[in-house]
């Protein structure tokens, strides 16, 4: 029972991270039609920023987080303006540009942090919350979960309750029709990548005290984000969030009750099964030609 309860908590925490990774990717893909391979590196940028500011220069963690978000967002905006926008008619060019950015960001991380061992950030919140006799949850993980859920809530509000959010969703549905309605596509693209990159930066900042920080940590992020995106339904934000929590729960329980290798294999099997049974993903819709 103890392991079961712990695994539920771990699933929620992991699901929060997976959702932050995936919604940014989905948003950018939906609005701009670009598969941003550098999305994992935007997460890495967030983590490195917290390491550099908080762990190396004693900047308070709660200040380092917004700085990480802003830096990731700025990188995203530069990518949109100078790489994706000129290649808007050619999705392949955008993809290749994002791979280029991936390498550039990794090299910059090497230059900033050196090429040695993985960086570590001591948890700013190091208390342990004990519930009953068996459940122990580090405050740092609870904090991350809370911020992740709050951020997803703000994003949901923005997309569903504001005119800008409606415009963004409209562009994701049909770019040309949206333009005919007077929606500024360039501006909406900037907002989409800004929000997506900010989410990635936030995820990296929150993860920094919880795992090894390396220039290559984005690899795992992008693979997981792709799995979640495909399982949820490409282009579906709600699908991505649902898939993030389902995938996290599955991965966590299999890891805890079997082992990490089996969990990885089974996680990929989930994706394959979903693609066979419902190729559009659990909440994706088939678009007619």
């Amino acid at each position: 029972m103890e392991l079961f309860l712990q695994s539920i908590v771990n699933s929620l925490i992991q699901g929060g991270f997976f959702a932050l990774w995936a919604v940014g990717l989905v948003l950018i893909f939906g609005v701009m039609g670009v598969v941003n391979f550098a999305h994992g590196e935007l997460v890495m940028v967030g983590a490195y920023t917290v390491w550099l500011l908080h762990a190396q220069n004693d900047v308070p963690f709660l200040i380092a987080i917004p700085v990480a978000i802003i830096i990731a967002m700025m990188i995203g905006l530069v990518m949109e303006r100078f790489l994706f926008r000129p290649n808007r008619t050619d999705p392949l060019a955008g993809l290749i540009c994002s791979i280029g950015v991936l390498f550039i960001l990794q090299v910059i991380a090497h230059e900033v942090g050196g090429t040695g061992p993985a960086k570590q950030v001591a948890p700013p919140f190091n208390q342990i919350v004990e519930i009953g006799e068996s459940l122990r949850i580090p405050m740092q993980r609870l904090f991350s979960l809370g911020v992740a859920i709050a951020s997803l809530g703000v994003l949901w509000f923005f997309l569903t309750k504001t005119k800008l959010g409606w415009a963004l969703r409209a562009v994701a549905l049909d770019r040309e029709a949206s333009a005919l309605q007077g929606i500024n596509i360039n501006r909406i693209s900037m907002i989409a990548i800004g929000v997506g990159a900010a989410m990635a930066g936030l995820a990296g900042a929150l993860m920094a005290p919880l795992q090894n920080i390396t220039p290559h940590m984005g690899h795992n992020v992008i693979i997981t984000a792709f799995i979640v995106t495909i399982v949820g339904g490409v282009g579906s934000l709600s699908g991505a969030v649902a898939a993030a929590f389902i995938y996290a729960a599955f991965h966590t329980f299999v890891t805890a009750y079997f082992n990490g290798t089996v969990a990885t294999i089974c996680g990929l099997l989930i994706m394959v099964v979903v693609l066979i049974i419902k190729p559009t993903g659990i909440m994706g819709v088939k678009v007619s030609e």
Partner: protein, 419 residues
């Protein structure tokens, strides 16, 4: 100059070119120089087991050169370590090997595993001397491949033996490690054998990949069986694993192959929590290493220089590549030549070769098919008041003589190669 797509692409190309280029230490113009290649990972997940070794070699080489060089066969040579970053990629390892060979390296040092596998055929044909930190790379066909300093993961038996002697109430263990054949599974087999040899039951072994982003489920799954001992066989993720143990309030014994950057582990947990963790890699300012039977030049001075020049970069390999370099120097002097096969012959001619922690013996035929790795005594290290300190040296060779059958069985159970 404004930021344009063209400029960014140029920057990318330049970045890749920089990342793929070998690094070298200062050139010593006008002197006879012998180059020692390091074809190692300086970037990526395995960087902690590569780059610190180059730093260490630079220190040892600088010390040798500052003392006027080394006399080999009547000639005085300066030592120049030359690094190539293969990022633990087999294709790059081949490029690194070719680059270093054409750069006239007298020996090529490597970390081991698949990167060694990718070049060792060439090394055999080219008569190039190659060193590895993984004796499991040795096969009957790899006569040019030696493991003269580190007998990973065989030495892990000494930590378990010491634990069993000093904590006889610890009767059950769980093991966590990466699922790769080269490091994780080899090490898990040794730990499983060492635990069995001392009557300690292994309740569970969790192999995980390099894609783990949360170690809490792994640790909680293993702790569910209430083990007396938590063992990290070979893991680049010791810090998050120990942090997860700390978060769970684990109170049993912890044993690990390595505990690199333990200051950061303490920062994430507490000095009290890491107290008593058993592992295998000492700090080189350890008082136990300052005696005459330690065959590494000035361990304390080496440690001080490393900490000053490369703060926060020390890892398990920081002294191992330099130890290979020291071994090469003494063998080259004995051979009176820098020719790789002459040096190899001189190395193998000594039945009790020098080893960092004393003399050892050539071993490996009964397990790998060739006596090309040196086993000797190895330190058992524990955390004491926030520092890594040696508690005892134990004999790896004696353990292997007694328990080789168990080890072979455990390796075969995991599908690992034995003779």
């Amino acid at each position: 100059m404004g930021i344009t797509r063209r400029n960014l692409l140029r920057g990318t190309a330049a970045g890749i070119a920089v990342a793929g280029t070998g690094f070298s230490t200062q050139l010593l113009a006008g002197q006879k120089t012998v180059k020692i290649g390091l074809n190692i990972p300086m970037t990526g997940d395995y960087a902690p087991w590569g780059l610190p070794g180059l730093y260490g070699c630079n220190i040892v080489a600088n010390n040798i050169n500052a003392a006027g060089g080394v006399e080999i066969g009547g000639e005085t040579y300066m030592i120049e370590p030359v690094g190539y970053d293969h990022g633990y990629d087999t294709e790059k390892a081949i490029t690194g090997y070719n680059t270093l060979r054409h750069d006239d390296a007298a020996m090529i040092m490597m970390l081991g595993g698949s990167t060694v596998g990718s070049i060792i055929g060439r090394a055999q044909r080219n008569k190039m001397l190659v060193s590895t930190l993984l004796p499991s790379d040795i096969t009957p066909d790899t006569s040019n491949l030696v493991a003269p300093s580190e007998s990973h993961p065989l030495y892990n038996c000494t930590g378990v033996d010491w634990l069993a002697d000093n904590f006889p109430d610890a009767k059950s263990a769980v093991i966590v490690t990466t699922n790769d054949i080269e490091y994780g599974q080899q090490s898990a087999a040794v730990y499983q054998a060492a635990f069995e040899a001392r009557g300690i039951e292994v309740l569970d072994t969790n192999f995980h990949g390099f894609d783990v982003t949360d170690f809490a489920p792994i640790v909680q799954g293993l702790l569910a069986s209430k083990p007396d001992i938590f063992c990290m066989a070979t893991d680049v993720y010791t810090t998050p694993l120990i942090e997860a143990l700390y978060n769970q309030g684990y109170e049993g014994k912890i044993i690990s192959c390595t505990l690199d950057l333990y200051d950061e582990v303490i920062a994430k947990t507490s000095k009290e929590f890491v107290e008593g963790i058993i592992f295998q890699f000492p700090d080189f300012d350890d008082p136990a290493l300052q005696s005459d039977d330690i065959l590494f030049p000035d361990p304390s001075g080496f440690w001080d220089t490393f900490q000053k020049d490369y703060p926060g970069q020390w890892s398990a390999v920081a002294w191992e590549y330099p130890a290979n370099l020291v071994t090469w120097v003494s063998a080259a002097q004995a051979a009176g030549s820098i020719e790789p096969m002459d040096v190899l012959a001189a190395m193998k001619a000594n039945p009790n070769p020098p080893h960092v922690f004393g003399t050892g013996k050539w071993w490996g035929k009964d397990l790998y098919g060739l006596d090309n790795c040196v086993v000797g005594r190895w330190p058992v290290v524990t955390m004491q008041n926030g520092r890594a300190r040696i508690v005892e040296f134990r004999d790896v060779g004696a353990w292997l003589d007694k328990n080789l059958d168990i080890l072979k069985r455990k390796m075969q159970d995991l599908g690992l190669r034995t003779v």
